[in-house]
Amino acid sequence: MTGINWFKYAAPQTFFHLSGKWIPVLGWIAFFLAIAGLYIGFFIAPTDFQQGEAYRIIFIHVPAAWMSMVIYLAMAFWAAIGLVFNTRLSAMMALALAPTGALFTALALITGSFWGKPTWGTWWVWDARLTSELILLFLYVGFIALHASIDNPQRADRAAAIIAIVGALNVPIIYFSVQWWNTLHQGASINVASAPKMAVTMLIGMLVMTLASWAYSVAVALFRVRCIILERERHAAWVNDLKEVKS
């Protein structure tokens, strides 16, 4: 392990070239996995006994919900690293992950309501999971809004990092408070956890879609990081030496 210089790719310049190589690879992986996953989901997986065809939205909904949470943790992680070690690239990673995370959160909410209408007979219930997902969207919006409202990028990075960390600490508290609130009210009597056992093909389809979402998220985040690097390092000599910039 001692032979590897872990900090080599923490420099924006080297990371810019590395990520440039990875984006097409991950992008194509995401594309083919999504095609395969959707094919399994829509053509191979059997029709559900109870929910009919409507259940097929889970092939998008479940990966989106997973990604929304994973990306928030990843964002808070990079924000914390950036705050503690004062590394430029970490803060850029956090900033690059935020829009993708917010997108997946919104996607999970929208597809969830598409699923809820035929299954529960309503677009929205104040279920614990739905409510905490909605609050997660608010947390993403707060991070993005705070970053956008401070002009100095370094200061914006660090201020947004604090709100990301506070948010990450709050996520479990919010989740449990909403869950207890929900059981106290006895409002929605639908239990999401007691869904019937899944067929193997359904599970495979969902896992393939999840991998596609991972690859897509990483590719898009890397792409956004490259844009942020170019924007922030536009006065650096190496950026002006890039052949894309010169032409």
Binding site: L169, N170, S177
Partner: protein, 222 residues
């Protein structure tokens, strides 16, 4: 060590005392918001009693949010904050004093007034005590969490709206436990669990928030 805490507390309380209109505005805001709901929804006593806990708690939440910029904004504008920050004493202790002063001047009057509005909403005496108790235990958490937002939005554009976007999601657990306590007391259930959770929220924010506020101030003022 504690001398600086009381010195800052005393200074902020004196400043607030010299401008009583500011604290009074927050109290008036609370009364007006709380009296809008019967006009908008339904003045029927049974209906009012049903949503009294939620409406009163949300009104307190909004009144607290409205007063949050005052924690640091004045000192930020006239440069006193910079002088405070170069003091040798730990910054987290100083900001704790400022947040405490904010709670005493801006939120405590509202908490003391809340049983009166609870009466207008037709809560019984037990419900009034639980309402005041839950607010007394819950609002310090609101001030502490809000302090983080107030510090982070000091130099930012569109401070007020941004502050609510940042802070309101973090207020949700306190709102749930606080309003839940009053709802439980109305239903004849025990309120101990809700109070324990409110206390836990307060202790957690009491330990972590001053540190986060101090870190936020250092970032904003650098």
């Amino acid at each position: 060590m504690m001398a600086i805490f009381f010195a800052v507390l005393q200074r902020d309380l004196r400043l607030a005392w010299r401008k009583p209109a500011e604290a009074a505005t927050g109290v008036m805001f609370f009364i007006i918001v709380a009296s809008l709901f019967p006009l908008a929804v339904n003045p029927d006593p049974v209906v009012l009693r049903g949503f009294a806990p939620g409406v009163l708690w949300v009104s307190v939440l909004l009144a607290c949010l409205l007063s949050l910029p005052r924690v640091f904004a004045l000192d930020y504008v006239d440069g006193a904050l910079e002088q405070i920050m170069i003091a040798p004493q730990p910054l987290s202790l100083i900001v704790l004093a400022k947040v405490a002063a904010h709670w005493l001047t801006a939120t405590l009057p509202i908490v003391l007034l809340s049983p009166l509005l609870g009466m207008l909403y037709g809560l019984d005496s037990h419900g009034l005590i639980v309402l005041a108790g839950s607010l007394l235990l819950g609002t310090p958490t609101l001030s502490l969490l809000g302090g983080i937002g107030a510090a982070l939005t000091l130099g930012a554009r569109g401070g007020g709206v941004l502050l609510s976007v940042l802070v309101l999601p973090l207020y949700i657990p306190v709102l749930i436990f606080g309003a839940g306590a009053v709802v439980a007391s109305q239903a004849g259930l025990g309120v101990q669990a809700h109070f324990s959770l409110l206390g836990a929220c307060f202790l957690l924010s009491f330990v972590l928030a001053p540190w986060a506020i101090a870190a936020a101030l250092k970032i904003v003022m650098e």
